[in-house]
């Protein structure tokens, strides 16, 4: 606009200064151009039609978005920009389009596919539109819809149910027996014991009681059944910043989350109570069983971040402190402790301290069942083949630390997510351990 008005003014002033009618005619030509172009407006009456305000996908899944754009008035250029959130990888089509809007009504359909590379809840701005006047003399109008498309990307659990090899099916450890004071009685037989006040009569084992006839003790025997949710698994997920080793999408923390989700679902499907502690940040889900707990854990894992992002580095909590904070939930039970972490020189002593705390709260000084899933994050870091040997060397340095953790009383399962599946690692790893015993 400035350029055109300037040209017109210069010509007009030249005409006025020299009393030259030709200059005035040329100035009028420029003014007429401005007037004619401004008679037409830029694209207006724009409508965006989109599909669905709520979307849900698994990590790594491809999602297709489609938009319909309509514009009824004006002439110019329409630019439609969907502004994909971070961690969304464009696979097909384009999220930014430019269209010509002529004199007639305009209609276009945009479709593109994106791969959701990281778990989380994302907001997709729908159809941010720029309406540019064809001459550039009119104002460029920029607008967007009020509504946003909410996309929930859930972490894909590393399923442990699909274990088909009969030799290893039963090798994934279950929590040891432990008396749980509350919970529904199941039909799983546990033992025969003497009748105590309050036991239901229907639990009296008449056959066993009859065999007692003639002895001094005439107290009847009752059948004791397992209590639902009796077996408890405590998962400790290391949320330290260094768990981010690897790329922003593929790192030890992301795999640790998938493993936590997979393991929790495995035990929940077997009627165990599962609790999760995101240690280093005083954040925990208390043990419960059932589908609701499964949903609760999954929902929490969608948005969980490393410590620095949530609590700041000054509020980090060691594993021992995390165990200490849940000690009330450890009374009278022998849970199965699973620590999902990446062993390194920075956290080896912390791990050992945590394992000692687990021993401390084990009822009757029994040896607690502790498993450390060591996610080999260094193996995820190399950018190419040339960097792999150095990653292996760095990983080898952790071997003495792994031995120290084992010595403290935990069973360590090293897992390289890039090469081996979790179920295979767990099944084979635990099997070896049992053979070793």
């Amino acid at each position: 606009m400035k350029q055109e008005v300037g040209l017109s003014l210069v010509l007009f002033l030249a005409g006025a200064a020299t009393a030259n009618i030709l200059f005035i005619f040329l100035s009028v030509a420029v003014l007429l151009y401005i007037a004619i172009t401004l008679l037409w407006r830029g694209p207006e009456d724009v409508t965006v039609l989109f599909d669905g305000l709520e979307r849900s996908a698994w990590t790594g899944e491809t999602v297709t978005f489609s938009r319909e754009i309509r514009a009824d008035g004006g002439i110019g250029i329409l630019a439609v920009d969907d502004r994909l959130p971070e961690h969304f990888l464009l696979e097909r089509g384009n999220d930014f389009h430019v269209f010509a809007k002529g004199r007639g009504p305009f209609h276009a359909k945009i479709e593109y596919s994106v791969r959701c590379t990281k778990r989380g809840v994302y907001l997709l701005e729908c159809g941010r539109i720029e309406a540019v006047h064809f001459s550039g003399l009119g104002q460029t109008w920029i607008g967007s819809c009020e509504q946003e498309v909410r996309i929930t990307v859930r972490p894909r659990p590393l399923s442990l149910r699909r274990l088909r090899d009969p030799r290893v099916t039963s090798q994934i450890p279950m929590p040891p027996d432990a008396l749980h004071p509350i919970g529904m009685t199941t039909t799983d037989f546990k033992e025969i014991r003497e009748y105590r006040e309050g036991d239901p009569f229907r639990h009296i084992n008449w056959k066993a009681t009859a065999k007692r006839e003639g002895t001094m003790n005439s107290t009847p025997f009752v059948n004791e059944f397992e209590k639902e949710g009796r077996k408890t698994v405590w998962l400790f997920l290391d949320a330290r910043e260094w768990m981010r080793t690897g790329s922003t999408i593929e790192n030890a923390f992301e795999y640790a989350i998938q493993a936590t989700l997979g393991i929790s679902q495995f035990y929940l499907s077997r009627n165990c109570g599962v609790g999760v502690s995101f240690y280093n940040c005083h954040d925990e889900i208390l043990p419960e069983s059932g589908k609701r707990q499964s949903y609760r854990i999954a929902r929490h894992l969608i948005t969980v971040e490393t410590v620095a992002a949530r609590c700041g580095t000054d509020r980090q909590v060691a594993l021992a402190e995390a165990v200490e904070s849940i000690r009330g939930h450890l009374c009278g039970i022998s849970p199965f402790f699973i620590v999902v972490t990446m062993i390194g020189k920075d956290n080896a002593s912390d791990l050992i301290g945590g394992i000692r705390a687990m021993w401390k709260y084990s009822p009757g000084g029994e040896r607690p069942q502790i498993m450390v899933l060591h996610v080999q994050g260094y193996e995820l870091a190399p950018a190419g083949e040339s960097e792999k040997p150095s990653a292996m060397l760095v990983d080898l340095e952790t071997a003495p630390l792994v031995r120290l953790v084992r010595k403290a009383g935990a069973f360590v399962v090293p897992w390289n997510p890039g090469t081996r599946s979790l179920m295979r690692v767990l099944a084979v790893g635990v099997k070896k351990r049992r053979r070793g015993r």
Partner: protein
Amino acid sequence: MESTAAPAPVSRDTPVEACIFAVTGVALAVSLALFVSTPLHESLSSWTDSALPGGVYVMYLLAIVAVVLLGIMSRNVLRPVLYLSWALYLPSILAFSRFDLLSSVIDGGLASLGGGSPPILVLAAGLLLVCTTLAQGAVEEHRALRKSYLERGAGQEEVDTAVRSSLKYVALAIAASAALAALVSVVTTALAYFGEGIALPGGYWYILFAVAGGAVIAFVLVAMLRPGPPERPAPEQAQAPVLTAVPVKK
């Protein structure tokens, strides 16, 4: 990780570039032709012929080459060529000035420098130069817009289509404004010719022109000040009826 596609290589839209090159070339040729018919050219010619016969044309050629080189160096060839065209055109148009500052300095004043071409031809050449200037401005603006879109990840083909379509309307507007300006000049000249003899005393015909010019300026101001949509509204303000978002029912 970047979510958008990698930016496409930025290249120029060839048909548009070819058109603007051609128009600028024609404008330069017309300006040069007008200049050659001026007394200034004759003076230059007689001055250079003493040293080298036809040397004035060599001088023009060198000037054009220099301007083109300057344009190449500044990565915009057309702009200096356009300035050269205006420079060559100026003596011709100044010859029609009624208020001559040079008359006291040079014998014959401005007319002795640029006279020699009929006014209709000078006006046509002037309109051509104005059109070229406007077209160059629009093309430069669209080129920047195109580059920005490509860098933001839009497809090259759809950007080119949009830019070409937009420039088509610009060309239409330029042609229409030139035609209207020519019509205004013809009408006012005719009114001046007939009005001088019929109603208005000599020299007052331009009052009519001033009224017409004032009307055009008022029209432009009204068009410019017409209330339009708000500039860059906040997302929460951008809603119906200007931009509506409707979920598709499946």
